[in-house]
């Protein structure tokens, strides 16, 4: 009996100790990356390679917001520190980046995720770590749908854009719609939802053409589109191939409705890239961003960015970072001084009708129904020589 009591006592001590330690471990995880005067926020994306713009430049935008917040005293007295990790836009890179940020750098949360495929690969690791994540560039729906407890996105997702593109063409009364697309993972994440939506709407594309990102010429595509008599062309292209496509179509005197997406949302830059005066008369594009980098409303951000990164001119990539960082700061502020992961995630889920300096639409995170917080595609077009918002 004595032995039994001793064993029970020992087991109780062990159980109590384990409970205490695990409790403190939970508490540690909940407040990881937070000190009295600092909150460490991670970011990952490519620093180099062809898509560094979606990593490095977006992060520079985030850094600009953190700089502004810190200048004003921080969030509840804590300064924000950005810890950057390069994922090289590769799945293995993003998994390593998440692990490093979570377990080595011990940041509180992450804002970033540039490349869809890479970010998608890191989702299991993100879920395992429980680290709050705010996506700001990657557009693949599968990252945030179905809902994951700790992952939110402030970027328009690919299916939202694809549906909006087709709706725009139909609203314009287009009868012969064509699509010109790249064939990489980024493009396929848009193309597949577009095809599914077209099927649902009973639309058959009159031409379905490929154009590679580096193509110096698109004359064959232009000739085929013209021969098919397409009256609206949906782009699933980066700005460079889209500019080449339009230039070569205009060369043939062919100028139907051109429908772009957020990869072509720097309208002024795109106008220069196409290079032919009046070329964008029939062009409209989706934007997640409310302003053009040269708009007077963006002057203070341009100045701040220049101060931090003298080589940079404000671009829509920076503005994506600015918008997402402002959403994150809003949630951090709403979570209060006694910040924990759960409080932050709860604050993210409760964000409603938040107006950032950058995004075209209000940000609403409809937890638990949807963590896709940006549902409002803005539209840009040229009217009387001026860039205007159509929405």
């Amino acid at each position: 009996m004595k032995m039994f009591r001793k064993s029970v006592f020992r087991l109780s001590v062990i159980a109590l100790t384990t409970a205490l330690f695990s409790g403190s471990a939970v508490a540690d995880v909940q407040t990881q990356g937070i000190s009295d005067n600092e909150i460490r926020i991670g970011a990952f994306g490519p620093f180099g390679g062809p898509v560094y713009l979606y990593g490095k430049l977006v992060m520079n935008g985030v850094a600009a917001v953190f700089d502004e917040v810190n200048e004003a005293g921080g969030v509840h007295g804590r300064k924000l520190t950005l810890v950057r990790e390069d994922d090289n836009c590769k799945p293995e890179g993003s998994i390593a980046a998440v692990k490093k940020l979570a377990y080595s750098e011990k940041v509180f949360a992450i804002v970033g995720g540039a490349c869809s495929n890479a970010t998608l690969a890191s989702v299991p690791e993100l879920e395992k770590s429980g680290m709050p994540m705010v996506i700001n560039s990657a557009v693949a729906d599968a990252i945030s749908t179905p809902v994951k407890k700790n992952i939110y996105t402030t970027q328009l997702t690919s299916s939202i854009e694809s549906r909006a593109q087709l709706d725009y063409a139909l609203n314009k009364g287009a009868k012969k719609i064509a699509v010109v697309r790249m064939t990489d993972a980024w493009a396929m994440a848009r193309y597949n939802p577009l095809m599914a939506y077209a099927k649902k709407k009973g639309v058959n594309f009159i031409a379905n053409l490929e154009l590679q990102i580096d193509a110096p010429d698109a004359t064959p595509q232009a000739l085929k589109l013209k021969a098919a008599g397409a009256d609206a062309i949906i782009f699933i292209l980066y700005a460079k191939p889209a500019a080449v496509m339009m230039r070569d179509a205009l060369k043939l005197g062919y100028n139907p409705e051109w429908i772009g997406e957020t990869a072509i949302n720097d309208f002024a830059a795109f106008q220069k890239q196409v290079g032919i005066p009046g070329a964008l008369k029939n062009f409209a594009t989706i934007t997640a961003i409310a302003y053009q980098p040269t708009d007077p409303e963006m002057k203070s951000w341009a100045t701040r960015l220049k101060k931090l990164f003298p080589n940079d001119e404000l671009s829509t990539f920076n503005l994506n970072g600015i918008g997402s960082a402002q959403v994150m700061v809003e949630a951090l502020t709403n979570a209060g001084r006694d910040l924990t992961r759960d409080k932050f995630l709860s604050a993210m889920g409760n964000i409603k009708d938040f107006e950032s300096d950058a995004y075209a639409g209000k940000i609403t995170c409809d937890h638990p129904r949807s963590h896709q917080c940006n549902q409002t595609p803005g539209w840009l077009a040229l009217r009387d020589g001026k860039i205007v918002r159509l929405d």
Binding site: P50, D214, P220, L223, K240, Q273, I276, E313
Partner: protein, 294 residues
């Protein structure tokens, strides 16, 4: 017929660019037996240098063009002094090739650092009116005509350089037999240096000419290097006329394949043709195996 004419015209103008890139590659290869894997980046830097002089500093186009070509020439010499010469002195050709690959990454990174914060694709104002013009019944971009004419001039200059100048003859002699060239008193190291400089200058000139059409971005060099290399291989890596022929053929083939078969073939058609040609003629269309007289 209209479609054929358009595709042919575009194929020729695009092919002229590939030919120019191939020309620079062949010049270096003939003299040094090294494929300069950083050649595309020299093309890219030529464009960015011209952008800096013309757009950022507001200097005249011709001045910017000349300075960009001179800058590329200096860069080529730098490549010889920093990468090629020290490694070749140890007779390690593989090391030189790997060094060239590393150099291409370094130059891309440098370009991203220097010009990368200014947007995704930088625009370079065209030398002529951006409006298309009618030429022989078909519409063509004025800048494409400029590229075509300028490529012709550059090629002609090079032909004259190799045939009629002492430096050109030295380069040819060194290419044919470096040991013999050294024995007769040629300063082979200096010829190599000149070769890298001239190859880079050609790349720089091509970069400036094409910048208004292709737009500028740090990764633009790789695609053009691949196309130029393919053109050089198709024509024969040791043949300058072969490089030119290969360039034009690739330009035309990819247009025809995309126009008449499938747009997805635009990027790969030329490579399929090259595979076939290599099976039947491994030295390329105009490349011959070196003969030795005993």
């Amino acid at each position: 017929m209209e479609m054929f004419s358009y595709l042919m015209a575009t194929g020729i103008s695009t092919g002229a660019l590939y030919a120019l890139v191939a020309l620079g590659l062949v010049v270096v290869y003939k003299a040094t037996s090294v494929v300069n894997f950083a050649h595309g980046e020299m093309f890219m830097l030529g464009g960015f240098l011209a952008f800096t002089f013309h757009v950022m500093l507001g200097w005249q186009y011709m001045v910017s063009l000349v300075l960009a070509v001179v800058g590329s020439f200096v860069l080529g010499i730098g490549v010889d002094r920093v990468a090629f010469r020290p490694l070749m002195q140890r007779q390690t050709l593989v090391s030189v090739l790997l060094c060239m690959v590393g150099l291409s990454f370094f130059l891309k990174g440098l370009a991203r650092h220097l010009w990368g914060g200014k947007g995704d694709y930088l625009t370079f104002p065209p030398l002529v009116s951006p409006e298309p013009m009618q030429f022989g019944g078909i519409m063509i971009m004025s800048q494409q005509l400029v590229v075509l004419v300028a490529c012709g001039i550059v090629m002609a200059v090079f032909m004259v350089f190799f045939k009629l100048t002492r430096a050109g003859r030295f380069m040819q002699a060194t290419a044919d037999n470096p040991k013999a060239a050294r024995l007769v008193g040629l300063r082979v190291d200096r010829v190599y240096m000149m070769t890298f400089g001239v190859g880079a200058a050609v790349a720089g000139a091509a970069g400036v000419l094409m910048a208004p059409l292709t737009l500028l971005y740090p990764d633009m060099g790789f695609m053009l290097f691949i196309k130029g290399f393919a053109a050089a291989v198709l024509g024969g890596l040791t043949s300058i006329p072969g490089a030119l022929l290969g360039g034009f053929l690739i330009g035309i083939i990819e247009q025809m394949a995309a126009g008449y078969i499938h747009t997805g073939l635009q990027e790969v058609a030329a490579f399929i043709i090259i595979m076939v040609v290599m099976i039947f003629r491994p030295t390329g269309l105009l490349g011959g195996s070196r003969r030795r007289k005993v």
